[in-house]
């Protein structure tokens, strides 16, 4: 049951883009077409789940026993950067077609603050669902949380790109063109997502 609550909470209630403001750069940058938005969200889901798994293990089996938690930021970002590079190399070797689809998004993911943000969130914040006392996630819950957060990112960016495709065709006043109208659209979407608050 707790897993279901984690998933619903991460996708809808605390959507990482529209309520936590993580991963705004790709959200604005690669949302001009639905197809690229879908590719980006697939790549993010993959990397986010993997990165959270690895940084979780790093935190509890290396940093905490050695008492060097202050190296969290440095070590997490290096692990994520290395991981992204590795995924890119492996993908290129074993599945060229998947690499074709996701390849161009992978380098961008290193600087997607959502990946580092979620990795830090699961080791820093305590969560409590369904009346339970707040506690730190275990490995399984962390990976589920990361995957669900990434799906939330995918949902937001895919919906948003659909709206932006329509916006391209409409006559927007000149100072509004480009990013400003996109931001205002995102604001209205965020308002719609606020309707989910209070579910979990």
């Amino acid at each position: 049951m707790e897993y279901v609550l984690i998933i619903i909470s991460a996708i809808f209630v605390n959507n990482i883009v529209l309520s936590q403001f993580l991963g705004i750069c790709p959200f604005l940058g690669v949302s001009k077409k639905v197809s690229t938005a879908v590719g980006m969200s697939a790549a993010v889901t993959f990397v986010m789940a993997l990165a959270t798994c690895v940084t979780y293990l790093l935190q509890y089996y290396v940093l905490v026993p050695l008492g060097i938690e202050f190296l969290q930021t440095v070590s997490f970002i290096l692990v994520i950067a290395g991981l992204v590079q590795m995924v890119e190399i492996i993908l290129k070797k074993i599945s060229p077609s998947l690499y074709q689809a996701l390849g161009i998004f992978l380098p961008l993911i290193t600087t997607n603050c959502g990946v580092l943000g979620v990795a830090l969130m699961v080791v820093q914040k305590q969560f409590g669902f369904g009346g339970e006392a707040a506690h730190f996630f275990n490995l399984g819950q962390s990976v589920v949380f990361a995957t669900a957060s990434a799906i939330g990112f995918g949902l937001a960016i895919t919906l948003f790109s659909g709206i932006r495709e329509q916006l391209e065709l409409s006559d927007v006043p000149k100072p509004f063109r480009g990013v400003p109208i996109a931001l205002i659209t995102a604001g209205i979407m965020a308002m719609a997502f606020m309707g989910f608050s209070g579910i979990v």
């Binding site: 403001f21 991963g23 580092l116 100072p175 931001l183 205002i184 604001g187 965020a190 606020m194």
Partner: protein, 195 residues
Amino acid sequence: MSKLRIITNGIIKENPTFALVLGMCPTLGTTTSALNGFGMGVATMFVLFMSNIVISAVARFIPNKVRIPSYIVIISTFVTIVQLLMQAYLPSLYETLGLFIPLIVVNCIVLGRAEAFANKNSVLDSACDGLGIGLGFTLSLTVIGLVREILGNGSAFGLKFITGDGVLAFVLAPGAFIVLGYLMVLFNKFVAKKE
């Protein structure tokens, strides 16, 4: 370019928020009030200033292939310093900004300036650039925070000037997007045109 030009360049012409549209996550996430925005801006400015200086000083010795990871290590060192300093001396601000302090590492502005400016200019010029871009970022975050605070809470820099509540939505997530969107429209209309 004179040093002063480099500094003012970052404030208006290459304003990181309104002209370059970089570093959107902290811009939206931390500007719930003018002071929070200001705090985040200063923290980022410190990291930008220090990392620009160090990167411009050591850029010649770093092989081209590993430059990005090396820059990230330098940047995250300063982020950790900011994080520890804030935790010690400004614990309440540290609580409010939360996750966004460590996330300065992945702020595109910092890495962007390292790549676009610091690695090909002198130490002094890079310091000026870091200062200018940092000031531009601080200024825009404070303005966004101020507008949101006035509309959402009826106060400015923590001083309340109306009785009762403001429009709460401006402090919450939707307000961030909408305020930034409209401020960007004003910037496009009145500032960017003059060039």
